[in-house]
């Protein structure tokens, strides 16, 4: 049985090897590009969502900020809450339906769909990452005169990026696998090759076996590289280390146990401080 399987795989590979490799290349390119664009969307949503909306701001500004938050919320819920395979079909046929433009390049529409989908997940990851940054970092930046954009780009997001690195990796690995649904609109990824080849030679299991091995190989390599990258990011700025010294409350990593920093909001404060 086993020898039969391997000889079948061998015969498929000798005939269609380059087609499989081409599929792998397409899968990798699509998932890398879409993950990067998805991250960018996520970070932009993160910045927009966290612009402070203060009661003393003028009404148009507050209205605009609320609107942005609602739109991002809707975007996240819709694209996180529906299958990507359906989103692909929806956009691929929906855009010509409404706007009369047909996608000439399958790459364009594939990248758009996977990026938007990844962006929805990343928006939430980035939001969580920003919320986990010590409020003192925002105040420190404000105290030296940085505006919201500068605070985000130079102070908060670099720290957020490091914190959500595992989630970015997670999303990339999910994308390597899930770009397989793009065969539905005719994208020639690794899985689409399986459909094509097995349909031509009627060797379904050997081809599936090859695919399983191929995908596992891609994701394992990705895991390995991501771990390395995380280590590298940590190496130079492992600011978590400082927590080991309990006596010294350290830069940026000190979080107030429960109550905000100013003494009026302290749990001991009952309105009469004496």
């Amino acid at each position: 049985m086993i020898s039969q399987l391997f000889s079948d795989i061998g015969s498929i590979w000798s005939k269609y090897g380059t087609v499989y490799l081409n599929g792998i290349a397409n899968t990798l390119l699509l998932s890398v590009v879409a993950t990067l664009i998805g991250c960018l969307i996520g970070f932009i949503c993160g910045i927009l969502q966290t612009i402070p909306c203060l009661p003393q701001d003028p009404f148009p500004k507050r209205f605009l900020l609320r609107l942005i938050r609602i739109l991002i919320r809707v975007y996240v819920e819709v694209f996180r809450g529906t299958p990507m395979i359906l989103q692909a079909v929806f956009i691929y046929y929906g855009v010509p339906y409404f706007f009369g433009v047909v996608f000439k390049n399958i790459w364009t529409v594939s990248i758009i769909v996977v990026s938007i989908n990844t962006g929805a997940y990343m928006a939430e990851s980035v939001r969580g990452g920003i919320m986990s940054i010590d409020p003192g970092q925002f105040e420190g930046a404000k105290a030296i005169g940085m505006n919201h954009f500068q605070t985000m780009v130079y102070v908060v997001l670099p720290q957020t990026l490091r914190n959500i690195m595992p989630q970015i990796g997670n999303n990339y690995i999910i994308n390597v696998k899930d770009t397989s649904v793009m065969f539905i609109i005719g994208f020639q990824d690794f899985f689409a090759v399986h459909k094509m080849v097995s349909g031509a030679v009627f060797k379904y299991f050997p081809s599936a076996f090859l695919e399983m091995g191929g995908y596992l190989f891609l994701t394992l390599v990705a895991s390995f590289l991501l771990r390395k990258l995380e280590k590298k990011l940590e190496g130079k700025s492992d600011y978590e280390l400082v927590n080991t010294d309990q006596l010294v409350m350290t830069a940026g990593t000190y979080s107030y146990p429960g109550d905000p920093p100013y003494d009026e909001k302290n749990r001991d404060f009952k309105g009469d401080p004496s």
Binding site: G140, I144, G145, M146, Q150, V248, T250, F269
Partner: protein, 254 residues
């Protein structure tokens, strides 16, 4: 005299709790003002209102003649963003917990604001930053990261970071409260050095003997009000108000 900071009739509530009730004070050029008082007396909130980390509900906030907020019918109306930015450039703030940027080296922490906010040339900023670090005795730590420094060293970096903006007035929010007693001394020495150089400073502190030595003016706060105010010899050595006497006695017993 030349008033650098003026706060008139400042009011601040957190929900139903009135934290600052009609509080006024002013700081003149080259003066050191210390704010003392028990926890919950509103001194940190006052500092946060003065540095615009909190917004006042009512009152004026004036820096060197420039209005950041103006009282209109009992409500504080803040100036437009451009003017607030101008005001922000006039002061520096040193936090209790340093709030250094952990992903930047010491030198970058100090250089970040002058380059980004004041848009000054890198070369000039770097020279100044190294000079400041030298003054703080940290020239050899320029390439280190905050986590590699002791608390006292981190606080000195954050003082250098605040000074890099060339502020007219420098605020300290309990600068030694996060440090153990051994490290407290080095920070107090730095602040004393700044006072000798005629830096205008507002310091919220629990270090009574330090406040007496370094200040020109001491304010004792309790319950969102200024209870007593005057020269340190008056307020700390010869307080007249019952609440001040009680507080200082308790501080001495510790």
């Amino acid at each position: 005299m030349h008033k650098l900071l003026e706060i008139n009739h400042c009011k601040k509530n957190f929900g139903a709790v009135e934290v600052l009730t009609d509080l006024s004070l002013s700081v003149e050029k080259s003066q050191v003002l210390s704010i003392i008082g028990p926890s919950g007396s509103g001194k940190s909130t006052l500092l946060r209102c003065a540095t615009m980390l909190e917004t006042m509900d009512g009152g004026d906030l004036i820096y060197d003649g420039l209005y950041a907020a103006r009282d209109q019918g009992g409500k504080a109306v803040y100036a437009e963003p451009a003017q607030l930015q101008k005001v922000r450039n006039m002061f520096g703030l040193v936090f209790q917990n340093f709030n250094l940027f952990p992903h930047y080296s010491v030198l970058k922490n100090v250089m970040e604001a002058p380059m980004l906010v004041q848009k000054r040339a890198r070369k000039e900023v770097q020279e100044e930053a190294m000079d400041l670090l030298n003054q703080m005795g940290l020239a050899d730590k320029a390439t280190a990261y905050p986590y590699q420094l002791s608390g006292g060293q981190q606080q000195r970096v954050s003082i250098a970071r605040a000074l890099a903006m060339n502020p007219k007035i420098l605020f300290f929010d309990e600068p030694t409260s996060a440090l153990d007693p051994e490290l407290t001394g080095e920070i107090l020495r730095v602040i004393r050095g700044l006072a000798e150089k005629k830096m205008t400073m507002v310091i919220v502190t629990h270090e009574m003997s330090f406040a007496r030595d370094v200040s020109d003016q001491v304010v004792f706060m309790n319950g969102g009000l200024i209870v007593e105010q005057g020269r340190p010899e008056e307020v700390i050595d010869h307080p007249t108000q019952e609440r001040t006497i009680q507080f200082l006695r308790r501080m001495r017993e510790q």
